[in-house]
Every structure is written in C-alpha cells, then in structure tokens.
C-alpha cells in the first residue's frame, strides 16, 4: 500500500477549476517530483494535500487514513510537514523561534532540543544565526531555515514547494543535495519544482502536470529521456 494516495481530486479557486482529477501516489522512502509549467497546478496540488485547500471531490489518504476530514493544523500531527512556496519563514521571529514553531506539534523538550542540534548539523549556518531575525537572512539561508523548520516536526512525508525558486544557481545544487540527504534519513519526499532537470535527477518517480491534469508518469530517469519532457521542460530540441 502506498504511503500517500491521492485519488481523482478536483480543487477550485472560486469558479476556476484548478485541479481536474489529479491522481498520484507516493511510496514510503521515495522522492517523487511533480513538474510542470507555471499555472499547471503543482502548488495547488501540494496545498490541497497539506489541507490548506479543500478539494470538492476526490480522496487523499495517508497510510490508508482519510486526510480530507482533518483541518490543516491537524495534518502535522499525522506526519505531514510542508516547506511552502517562497519559503514563508516568520520574518519577525528569530531563527531559533522559527525552529521552535516548526516543533509546535511536539511537546518533549529533550527531543526538540536534539532535533534542533540535528538541524544545526545539517545547516551549520543556522546555528551561527540562531538569534538573528529571520527576515534579515539571505534567500538561501531562508530556504535552509524553512527546510529545517519543517524537519522539526519529524515528518514522515515532507512536501516541498519550489525549494530552488529565486536562489542563485550555485545554491540550487546544495539544496538538492540536502533533499537527498534528508530522504536517506528516512523521510519520504514529494517535491514540486520548475527546475525539472534537477528534480527528475534526484527523483525515484515523477509526474508531469499540464493545466490541472497529469499527462505523464514514469521513473525519474525515464522522464528525463522522454522527448516531450525534453522539449517542454528541459529546454532541449
């Protein structure tokens, strides 16, 4: 049984039919990438899974348990954490307070402290800047903070929305290395990316979204070789 199963979801913004029957699944331990053009519905899919949007139709289950009936703030207790688009750090809270908010769902002080140490090991820069207000961090540092903050919830499934967006190319590779590292620690990852080449390189499987529908689904390596994907998303002729 897949860990996350999304079955035929339809999500609307007012009258705009944004997701027209998306079905996908993520198995435990996988990295799955969702690629597509702007406005294809990638972020909408993630926000629907995270509970920030409610689908009018369809099912979302985690390990067989229906997720749609839960409000967004309960999903983190079920093991889902998200790194939102544009990072969404709390700009006026310090780095440390941001990490503490990431652990809001947990109460064991000792475990939380151990987790903070783990995040500091993964991102030593965060330890140096722990007292600094998050709004003063650079884009790359904010991405580290947003990722570290999501890990503070000790998620089973991590949803990542455009982690490379707006980052200098030299930082992008570092972010993808980190994603692989986190995955090796046992965290299952569903990744949305515009940088299709990088996203497919690290992914076990990938889905291609077009105007609210899934048009292709294959192993990451296979998708990279797919002619249509190469033309449309990898910029090859």
């Amino acid at each position: 049984m897949p860990m996350l199963e999304v079955n035929d979801i339809h999500t609307y913004y007012g009258n705009i039919h944004a997701l027209k029957g998306i079905s996908l699944h993520v198995d435990e331990g996988e990295i799955v990438s969702l690629i597509g053009a702007n406005g294809a519905g990638k972020t909408t899919t993630l926000r629907t899974i995270a509970g920030l949007l409610t689908p009018r139709q369809g099912e979302i289950t985690l390990n067989g348990e229906d997720l749609i009936k839960y409000p967004a703030h309960d999903l983190v207790y079920k093991g889902i954490a998200m790194v939102p688009e544009g990072r969404g750090v709390f700009a006026r809270l310090s780095v440390m307070e941001n990490l503490e908010m990431g652990a809001f769902s947990r109460s064991d002080k000792g475990e939380i402290d151990a987790n903070i140490q783990m995040v500091f090991e993964l991102f030593p820069r965060m330890e140096e800047r722990q007292k600094q207000v998050a709004g003063t961090l650079s884009g790359g540092e904010q991405q580290m903070l947003a990722t570290g903050r999501a890990l503070m919830a000790v998620p089973k499934l991590l949803l990542m929305d455009e982690p490379s967006m707006g980052l200098a190319p030299i930082l992008v590779e570092g972010i993808f290395d980190t994603i692989e590292k986190i995955n090796k620690e046992g965290v299952t990852i569903l990744l949305v990316e515009q940088n299709a080449l990088m996203a497919l390189s690290i992914a076990d499987r990938g889905y291609v979204l077009q105007t609210g529908e899934i048009v292709l689904h294959d192993k990451g390596e296979e998708l990279k070789k797919n002619e249509m994907v190469q033309k449309a998303y990898l910029g090859m002729e």
């Binding site: 207790y77 969404g88 809270l93």
Partner: protein, 354 residues
C-alpha cells in the same frame, strides 16, 4: 511627467499646517511659562495624573494593537469589553462585598476577586464577540468586520444598559486606598490609588511582554500575525490562537476597568466609549500593531492630555482650557495620521499589510 516637478499644493498646505501647530504650541508654552501661574508641585501633580491616566490608555491600547497585529482589523468594540468587565463586577461583586463589610475587612483579597472577575467577564465578552460577529467574516473585505465591530459596540452598550440600568454606579470606599503617600523629594503627595494604577500597569505590561515573547502560545500569536497559512502548516490552530489574542487584549482591558473605577469612583454603561477611542488614538500614536508602541502611545497621550491644556492652551488665552483635553488628544491623532502614519515606534508597513 514626474510629480516632484509640479508645485505641490497639498504638500505646502500640510507644511503650513504643521508650522502653525508648532508655532501655537511654542507660543502658548512660552506665554504660560512667562505668566508662571502654577507652583512646581502643581506641575508634578499634572504629570502624575497624566501617568495614571496614560497607564489606563496603555492597557486598553494593548487590545487594539494585538488584534490589529493578527487580523489587521480595528476592533471598535474593544472599549465595551473594558466596560463590560468592571460594570458587571461592580454590580454583582463589589457592591455586595461592600454592603457585607467584607470589602474593608479583607481589602486585598477583595481587590483580587474584583480584578479576576473583571478580567473574566471582559474575556468572555470578547471571545464571544469574536466567535459570533468576527470569525464568520474572516475572509470578507477589510471594511466589513470594521462596520460589524461598530455594531457590536452599540450592541454591548445597550445590552449592558438593559441588564444593569443606565444609572451611574458609585464605587464603594476602599479604605486602604484612601489618602496619599508623601513624595518629599518632589514636594508633593501622590494618591494611593494612582500608585496602585501605575504599579499594576507596570506589572501587567511586564507579564504581557513575557507571555508574548517567551511562551509557546505567545510565539504562536506572533507566527499567526505574520502568516496564517504557514502557521497552520506548523500545527498551530489559527482560530484558537485568534481567540487567545482577543482574550489577552480583553484581560488587559478588564484590569484597566478596575483601575479606572478606583480612580474615577464610578462606572456606567457608556464608560467604555471615550476611553476606547482614546486608547485607539494611543495605539495609533505609538504605531498600531506594536506592543511597545501601545505602551508608549498610551503614556504620551495621558501626559499630553493632563499637562497640555495648562501648558500651551492656557498661554494662548483660551478661556475654558481645561475642558479641551479631548481636542489635544484628537489633534494628536490627526497629526500622527498625516505626518507619521506608522506611529512613533511603528515600522513602515509592508505592501501586504498596508
């Protein structure tokens, strides 16, 4: 075409407006000082009363600023939360306690009971108002909850008028608060009730600062103020956190109500209106959304109201200058809105919040 090259009539008008106000203040102050109508101790008394009055404004202003911080909404019903707590407590608790003699046998215990009761009623009314009148409008345009708040304000005023009658209710004598303590180094004395007001305010502000800055719930309030969706992803129950925010502001207003009743010795159903508007002015003055701003704005407004009429209005030869403290308060509001909309300690609001 750039605007800066045009002759800017509005800019000129504002500049003249600012200059006229400044000249009036300086001229009035100079005339008063030259005339020297009061002794030093009278000035000190003005300042002490200003501090006491300003403390109450500061406590009430906290509620405006907290709610604005999380919802970007001016909760015009906040003055009624202030009224509801102390009016109910006076009728239901203070008066019976006084009649039974318990109030003066156990004054400290009685004051504690009064404070807790006033806070509890204020909190209850505020959470109820938020749940029924504001929460369903969370996604409505900004103007809608604002108008609803004005409606809620009238609703509570008339509800409590119906419940307890429209008469003025005197606050019974509390003997330990009678009299003054000497301030020898300033050559004056200070009313014990004013001491209580200032000390209580300091304690409450320190407690509030600890709650907002250091506790998990306080940090969650700040997280919700910044980004509700992301706070949601962290597992923070946004609706519940907003209720807690209203409750925190109302607790401060409840305490302010007790202090108000001890200084002015009377309560009535309409008592929330003017302090509410003044505290809103104080919150804007300090920078709405900022907690230190609310405290600073409240104290400054109280001081200006207390010292201002005698200092610069008297010198201008205005006949009933002591009646004009409200003019000073609202002139300050207009000046701040024109020249420094972000307030004294406020930051420039980002596009999202503006």
């Amino acid at each position: 075409m750039t605007r800066s090259k045009d002759f800017d009539f509005v800019g000129l008008f504002l500049w003249v407006f600012r200059a006229v106000i400044l000249i009036l203040i300086v001229w009035g102050t100079y005339a008063t000082i030259a005339d020297n109508p009061y002794e030093t101790r009278t000035w000190v008394d003005f300042i002490i009363f200003g501090l006491a009055q300003g403390s109450m404004y500061a406590l009430i202003a906290i509620g405006y600023t907290l709610v604005y911080g999380v919802l970007f909404m001016i909760n015009f019903a906040h003055g009624e939360f202030f009224m509801a707590g102390i009016l109910t407590t006076t009728v239901v608790i203070t008066t019976p306690l006084s009649e039974s003699g318990f109030l003066n046998e156990q004054p400290i215990l009685s004051l504690l009971i009064i404070a807790i009761s006033s806070m509890a009623v204020s909190i209850f009314i505020s959470v109820l108002t938020e749940r029924i009148a504001y929460r369903p409008l969370r996604k409505a345009p900004r103007l809608v909850p604002l108008i609803t708040a004005i409606g809620a304000s009238y609703f509570w005023q008339n509800y409590f008028r119906g419940l307890f009658g429209s008469g003025i209710k005197p606050i019974p004598q509390i003997e330990i608060l009678d009299g003054t303590i000497p301030l020898d180094f300033l050559g004056t004395t200070m009313l014990k009730s004013h001491v209580l007001v200032i000390v209580t305010t300091i304690v409450m502000l320190i407690a509030l600062n600890f709650f907002i800055m250091k506790t998990k719930t306080g940090k969650a309030i700040r997280a919700v103020a910044e980004d509700k969706d992301v706070a949601n992803l962290m597992g923070i129950n946004v609706d519940q956190t907003i209720s807690i925010t209203f409750a925190t502001g109302a607790a401060m207003a409840g305490i302010a109500g007790v202090l108000y009743s001890l200084v002015f010795r009377q309560v009535h159903f309409f008592m929330g209106f003017i302090p509410g508007i003044k505290a809103f002015t104080a919150a804007v003055l300090g920078g709405i959304g900022s907690l230190p701003g609310a405290a600073v704005g409240g104290l400054l407004l109280g001081m200006f109201e207390s010292v201002g009429p005698s200092l610069f209005l008297r010198g201008l030869g205005i006949p009933a200058f002591n009646q004009l403290k409200d003019v000073i308060a609202f002139t300050m509001l207009v000046m701040v809105l024109i020249f420094r909309p972000q307030g004294i300690v406020g930051e420039v609001l980002s596009e999202k919040k503006a």
